[in-house]
Amino acid sequence: MKIIADKPKMLTDTPMHYCPGCTHGIVHRLIAEVLEELGKTDNAIGIAPVGCAVYAYKYFNCDMIEAAHGRAPAISSALRRVVNPENIIFCYQGDGDCASIGMAETVHACMRGENITVIFINNGIYGMTGGQMAPTTMPGVKATTCIYGRDPKRYGNPVHLSEMLATLTGPAYIERVACYDVPHVKKAKAALKKAFEIQMQKKGLSFIEVLASCPTNFHMTPLEAMEFVKTQGEPFYPLGVFKDITKEENK
């Protein structure tokens, strides 16, 4: 019998705790597949965030470090200087982690152009703590700390992190992708692959923002949540490549 599909060895057998319809599971698998395809399963080091993906260290079958909230880029900046340059280092972070409490760490790792990959899961809500407003919650969207919907006059504006980081000299590659249907999942995988390849070529920091869903805190079915990302999320957070030094090099 021929095996035509299998669980990547890069993922452990530990059952994931994510809610049905959550995008974390998809992105975990994509990272695992890409690292396998690149032959980098045996020397990767991952940094897990605080947030729903806090247990990422249980799911990835490689050396893992659990970071304090928002500090993954600082940890990996130091790690980069200690371990072998061939080791893949990736930070897996949510929107509260990467764009709020860890904003300084994110921006400065990008400024330094650290040779690491940051995967930024943007679902526009605080999942683990129960649906509070995120730095990426869109205007008008309800959260438990903006119960009538985010009014920027009262609660401030959301951040377009990829666009913002693209203004910096340091990062090598920045792309925003989504996972709401199969074609987009494939595109997300290609983006992750490109990001890790750039790290393998030691070209600097690659940053992949993934528009994600959170059915539980959106109070939607998994399908409705995906539809929300497609119809509301994507127009506000347009997909695309915001920085690519490999293109600039080819010019």
């Binding site: 080091i45 050396d63 470090i65 659990e66 304090a68 500090r71 200087r81 200690v82 080791n87 400065h108």
Partner: protein, 354 residues
């Protein structure tokens, strides 16, 4: 060979000699010579330096480098050390070895930049959240700074626990003769402390190493903290350090640490010239605290009273009172705000009873 060293630079070179290869920090007076020195020195020995975006990042960079088994450190002064407390708690909970230097200045708040000892509580009683301790050293001369730093990474590695060395602006800025011991081999230290067993440096043996401080099950976390405290008991047994100075026949006992202990010594010489028998107990480790030494002195019939001397409003004095346990009077003499007491002040205090 003894050379004239500035305290801050001596401690930096001693760290390099101890096998420290990574330094992460953020500028703050009066410890700036440490990052300045490390910024060029570490590259000479194959290490690296990052001027971090904040103290918060700096301590997390230490977390990262220590996770991979490297000897890493940070240094700062009081307000910066406050910012590092989150990371220190995580480092203690993830059982990562590292060294943190605090050249104390006066607080609270932005305070001032002159020498102080106002961070005793913060250093010895936790500082960050949760049940944990750093091993805390308080050297009093530049040479002792060097010797303690040289040994600090070994202690940190031995117990997989953060070590904090506290000095003050005076010790950091002053120059004294000191000798730096020979260079330890960083790779050898990695082997010696079996870091391959736990360090996350990218393993391909199918047994992923995990550095973590999350223990979400109450029983699991309780079991962990109990184990942590067993470790502290062992540290207390083996690592407690204290100096007793002219204690044989002392009637008046100063208890002081760091630079203040030196001022007490000068006062003791003067008091003894005037026929007053004074002595000093100088804790070298502030955690673990040399309670037994003070207890023993409290039981000594010669001893009339204890005077705890600090550049603070009275912090260590609480530990002295706990150790003396009501057997003898325990008084406090302190200066704060960045002011330093003079030997003559202490002589007067003892002679006039206040």
């Amino acid at each position: 060979m003894k050379k004239l060293w500035k305290g801050n630079e001596a401690i930096a070179e001693a760290a390099v000699a101890a096998g420290c290869r990574y330094f992460f920090g953020y500028p703050i007076t009066p410890q700036n010579e440490i990052p300045e020195y490390m910024s060029w020195r570490l590259y000479e020995v194959g290490g690296a330096f990052i001027q971090a975006e904040s103290e918060v990042s700096a301590i997390n960079m230490v977390y990262g480098a220590a996770s991979a088994g490297a000897r890493a450190m940070t240094s700062s002064s009081s307000p910066g050390i406050s910012l590092k407390q989150e990371g220190i708690s995580y480092i203690a909970a993830a059982e990562l070895p590292c060294v943190i230097v605090n050249m104390m200045r006066s607080g609270p708040g932005l305070g001032g930049i002159q020498a102080s000892q106002g961070d005793y509580f913060q250093a010895t009683k936790g500082g960050g959240h949760g049940d944990y301790h750093c091993i805390v050293y308080a050297p009093s001369t530049v040479q002792e700074f060097v010797d303690i730093m040289y040994n600090a990474f070994d202690v940190a590695d031995e117990y997989r626990n953060p070590v904090m060395i506290i000095g003050d602006g005076m010790l950091g800025q002053m120059m004294e003769p000191a000798e730096i011991p020979p260079m330890k081999d960083a790779a050898e230290m990695f082997e010696k402390y079996h870091k391959n067993e736990w360090a996350t440096c990218g393993h391909s043996d199918g047994k992923p190493r995990i550095i973590n401080s999350l223990r979400i099950e109450p029983d699991e976390n309780e079991e962990f903290t109990i184990r942590l405290y067993k470790k502290y008991e062992e540290i207390a047994k083996k690592e407690t350090k204290v100096e007793e100075y002219r204690m044989d026949d002392a009637e008046y006992v100063f208890v002081a640490y760091g630079s203040v202990a030196r001022i007490c010594k000068a006062a003791i010489v003067e008091l003894r010239e005037q026929g007053i028998k004074a002595g000093l107990i100088r804790p070298i480790t502030l955690y673990p605290y040399p309670t037994a030494t003070i207890e023993k002195a409290a039981k000594n019939p010669n001893v009339k009273k204890f005077v705890t001397v600090e550049m603070s409003m009275g912090q260590m004095v609480e530990d002295v009172r706990l150790a003396v346990n009501g057997q003898k009077p325990v008084e406090f003499y302190g200066r704060s705000g960045g002011n330093v007491m003079m030997p003559a002040d202490l002589v007067k205090y003892i002679k006039e009873g206040k």
